[in-house]
């Protein structure tokens, strides 16, 4: 129980720090972006809309900064994220976000988890078959793939599977622009077709690291005494591999997964950019291009929340798997 409380506390604290950073950065940057904002929009938005937009990141120059801060926090939590001032001028940020969210969750979320699970599995098998053919080929290959830039892999896949094949696999968007979204087989098939290359990119670029760390952890675990005891007891190989070795080797891998999520998000933003895939990362890019501060802030907060939630889930998973963690109440 103490463990749960501690992790939740950390969650809250980090979120608070992220939000505060988000609040103060515009105020400490040289130049006044707020003037630029006003200059850019004053003849296109009504004063009321302008007001709400400024409020979205807490800018009420006539108000006490502390009060602004509190209002900003409240707005962030209640979903009043303001109005976009980018290409889709006037559209509420929350609308943009909710539209993009499912695509990112579907593509990036699913693929990342898949890469982690698949990579761990391959790592376990590779370590188990130490010295075999699989194991001698694996490390060099995946050391290489783990160092490849996400976006470059995407570009290469586009080149090979889209350009050279004259469009066999689509390289843009999440579904054909002339289709209407609906729950039909044809539409779903189209969506999947568009998801192949981006998903493959993420998979190829990220799986290497999981395979290698799992393999290394597994090898270290296999040298432990309790694995030898498992053999001494005459347990089946399968039993030893899962209950004794993998279950222990998995633990540091899980925490590594959580810690590297920031990096994964980076990569996925680039992938969405390369493929024009309208997820949250793509929106962030647009927001940057159009100096759309409200959208940028909301997205930043969302990414932080996503990483923290994932971290929390991983922490609880580790606690569930490892009784020692439950006993000591955390790291």
């Amino acid at each position: 129980m103490r463990y749960v409380v501690r992790r939740l506390g950390f969650f809250a604290l980090t979120l608070w720090v992220a939000l505060t950073l988000n609040f103060f950065i515009p105020r400490f940057m040289p130049g006044n972006p707020l003037d630029a904002l006003r200059a850019r929009t004053h003849d296109r938005l009504s004063p009321a809309a302008l007001e709400q937009m400024l409020t979205s990141y807490g800018f009420k120059p006539h108000q006490n900064i502390f009060v602004q801060y509190l209002e900003y926090l409240r707005n962030m939590f209640t979903g009043h994220w303001g109005i976009s001032i980018g290409a889709t001028l006037g559209e509420p940020v929350s609308t943009i976000v909710w539209q993009a969210l499912p695509w990112t969750l579907g593509l990036v979320g699913v693929t990342t988890v898949l890469a982690f699970l698949l990579g761990s599995l391959i790592g376990v098998v590779a370590a188990w078959r130490r010295g075999g053919r699989l194991d001698s080929v694996l490390p060099p290959v995946f050391v290489v793939t783990s160092a490849l830039p996400y976006f470059w892999v995407g570009l290469m896949l586009i080149l090979v599977f889209s350009v050279w094949t004259h469009g066999w696999l689509p390289s843009d968007f999440n579904y054909d622009p002339d289709l209407l979204p609906e729950f039909s087989l044809g539409f779903i098939e189209n969506v999947l077709k568009h998801a192949v290359l981006p998903a493959a990119t993420i998979l190829i670029a990220s799986i290497g690291a999981w395979i290698l760390t799992m393999r290394n952890n597994m090898i270290t675990t296999l040298a432990e005494d309790y694995v030898r005891m498992g053999r001494a007891k005459g347990l089946s190989n399968h039993r030893i591999m899962t209950d004794y070795a993998a279950r222990n080797a998995m633990l540091p891998n899980l925490s590594g997964f959580a810690m590297s999520l920031g990096f994964v998000i980076t990569g996925s933003i680039l992938v969405e950019y390369v493929f024009n895939y309208p997820g949250l990362g793509y929106q962030l890019y647009n927001a940057v291009q159009n100096t759309d501060y409200p959208l940028m802030q909301a997205l930043f907060m969302l990414f932080t929340v996503a990483v923290l939630v994932a971290l929390l889930v991983c922490d609880f998973a580790i606690a569930w798997l490892d009784p020692r963690v439950r006993a000591t109440g955390g790291r």
Partner: protein, 310 residues
Amino acid sequence: MTGLLVDTSGRAVTRRRGSGLTAAIRRSRKAQVGLVILLVFCIIAVVPGLFTSVRHPNALQFTPRLGPSGEHWLGTTSLGQDIWAQLVYGTRQSLVIAVVAGLFATVLSVLVGVTAAYLGGLPDDVLSMITSVFLVIPTFPLIIIFATYAGKSTLIVVLIVLVVTGWSYGANQMRAQMLSLRNREFLESARVRGERRTYIIFAEALPTMTSLIVAIFLGAALYSLLTAAGLQFIGLGDPDSSSWGTMLYWSESQSALQTGMPLWSIAPGLCVALLGVSFALINYAFDEISNPALRPVRRRHVKRARVRNT
């Protein structure tokens, strides 16, 4: 990401001091390949003039859209620049970013990690909290926002941002390592001798952690390289600079892949990948060296022992 090696009880695996280190490096094929690649890039970065006759790679001086030929090894861009020359001159910036950002991030990691572990108590809690916070804040969005707010993104801005967002991973590792070392006898004896804390940390503890520090550096360099390339790719770098990431930016904005100039995209990306791979290889070789269990095992096919029954 290959740098984190933690054993199953959560302690950082102790890395041996490197007396047999150079010999071990020489024996590892992965390390050799990685070092060779790195060396080649370093040479290119230092004396680019040796590798190409073009002096101003970004100047629009050639016929655009040429394919590879004897004169232009990789062809030219759609704006009339020699791709090979750009590649050669771009080495310097990419390498500098990776190494400098990696170096500063490592220094910060070491300082924070070691201090937190050694001081313990409240300072440790505070520093750990700060480290954790920086660790989980998704770096790219932060970088993007930071770079945008700062206006035109110069090299310095990119470097600062990379260091600020890249140090926390290594700090955790250093702290874990330092914690496990803290109660070893050689440090105890230094304390008893009355040495100052800073002396103990820097002259006694750190030398035993050199291979971990090197691993952290390589990880940070890899991270900086890839992230900088990514930033430049989406247009947050200086578009007039000559670096691989910027080349990718221009090739993408000119739709190089779709308009039949794939080399413009392939080449700089490949270079980023190669340099990154060299860091990763050396890092992996280090893992193998410090953890004997990971060294390559060749299955020995020994003839079954003949039975001697009485």
